[in-house]
Amino acid sequence: MIPSDLRYTKEHEWVRVDGDVATVGITQHAADQLGDIVFVELPEPGRLLTQFATFGVVESVKAVSDLFAPVAGEVLEGNASLLATPEVVNSDPYGAGWMLRIRLSDPGQLEQLLDAAAYEALTAEG
């Protein structure tokens, strides 16, 4: 069940927008592929990200994956609870498993992302 109110990247990140603040995470599909997540490396607040650039790394027991920014902006905060309980990314990737909050610099970039149906189609093929 893909949340319909989010936008998605081809690299399996999701973004939720509230005003000019974007919240970013990875999808259930990505979390399932990775397996038990053990560590998430996130950027410091204040860092400026460009769209689709890597902003961090997610590690599972047997794999590692880069994280790509769905939108450009300034990092406001990373989800500090992931340090102690990274497994919440597996159990609640769209809620408590959020990773990053960014101040959006260009809301127009959202148009370039996939909607729920398009992302659903992408993962069905894969």
Binding site: D36, V38, V61, K62, T85, P86, E87
Partner: protein, 502 residues
Amino acid sequence: MSVTGPKLQPTLFELSGTGRAAGRRIPAPPADALDRLPAAARRAVPPALPEVDEASLVRHYVNLSQLNWGVDTGFYPLGSCTMKYNPKVNEWAARLPGFAALHPLAPDETAQGTLEMLWELERDLAEISGMDAVTLQPAAGAQGELTGMLVVRAYHRARRDLERTDVLIPDSAHGTNPATASMAGFRTVNIPSAPDGGVDLEAFRAALGSHTAAIMITNPSTLGLFERRIVELLELVHAAGALAYMDGANLNAILGRFRPGEAGFDVMHFNVHKTFSTPHGGGGPGAGPVGVRGPLIPFLPAPRVLREPGGTFRLERPGERPASIGRMRGHVGNVGILLRAWAYIRAHGADGLREVSDDAVLAANYLRGRLEADGAFEVPYPGPCAHEFIASGAGLKRATGVRTLDVAKRLIDKGYHPPTIYFPHTVDEAMLIEPTETERLETLDAFADALLEIAREAHETPELVTSAPHSAPVRRLDEATAARQPNLRWRPENRAELPRPG
């Protein structure tokens, strides 16, 4: 036979007791021995090291050893690792006091035996590989790779060819290859494999250019296949002004049949703990000598072992070869390991080594044939393989949900160490199987029988397979918690957290 029976052991710290005197190893020093040291430099609190009597210590380690699986225990068909028998005469040799007690900074004239052995080993490996010179310095295969790539870097820089930033690496390569390229300051360009398992020549040609420093190829490949297009590949590489590096991990397949230097490779590394029988030690130590063709000799690490006209041996002096990339590690190499490799080569001679590869390749093909005939596991690259082959559990997973991981764990119950799994990454649900030349035919057949039996179990009683192993000293481990909340050292609190065994 599988690894069962003996109980797990508490840690040394839990066996410790004050006054359990580890034994009177040396006479007591004078009480004031350390008084001349300033208090600020001295340790305020003694280290909390365990005090265990020798008998308990021995039981601790003997019981722990019995929780392990070695080549001495049974079949170990780990693809790309070459788990062949480790000859015991080599263990005797390494322990001869003349070899073991020699200090690495002792003057050359006191080290003539070891220097002669090292010089001969350099020549033996050069001869086996068709290279012009060999360094024995690298401490491991991966360090050999780094050595080779730093030599490549030095070569191009010496020719003022500073735009060569890329290294081309097949996507089936061992992870050390791209990691090495990064450490040597290069960018990795991944080259896809063609459907027949070899390098995709068109993709390769497209990626090759004036920015290419080198290609790193494992031959035979990690799929257990000799690179059929090797001649074209090498010609293309050299035409582009780049160098060809061969990862020699799979040398056990080609001894006496293919000499990389002779064929056109410029540089390669050897894994003596694979091809030349030095023991794996539970994860090391090994050694990774590197062979090069003539133009690269000036860049080899220093010091090299030299032979004087009068027949004596010496180490190169500092500054004697200024183009050298320098030192990769302390001293001249993992000499104790290299000695074992020297002895192995001496015991075989050229004919013996060729026979090693003949038997290794024959055994692998026989085992491949057994699995191909049955069909429970796919063999994605049918037809002759080198000394190892890939089988896939993808079909089994689709039909039963049982994965290669589960099959591997169930093999433990059948009395076998599992083969390499999920490598190379280019094959789904991969199993890389390398029997080596030192296994009896009965063992090969019994192993095939066991694998096929597990395939049947996957259909009939999948739970048995997915919850395996049942007969190992421990069941499957919680690796997620181990990575999330790492416990990397003993603390007294651990006693309460996780039950003490026994």
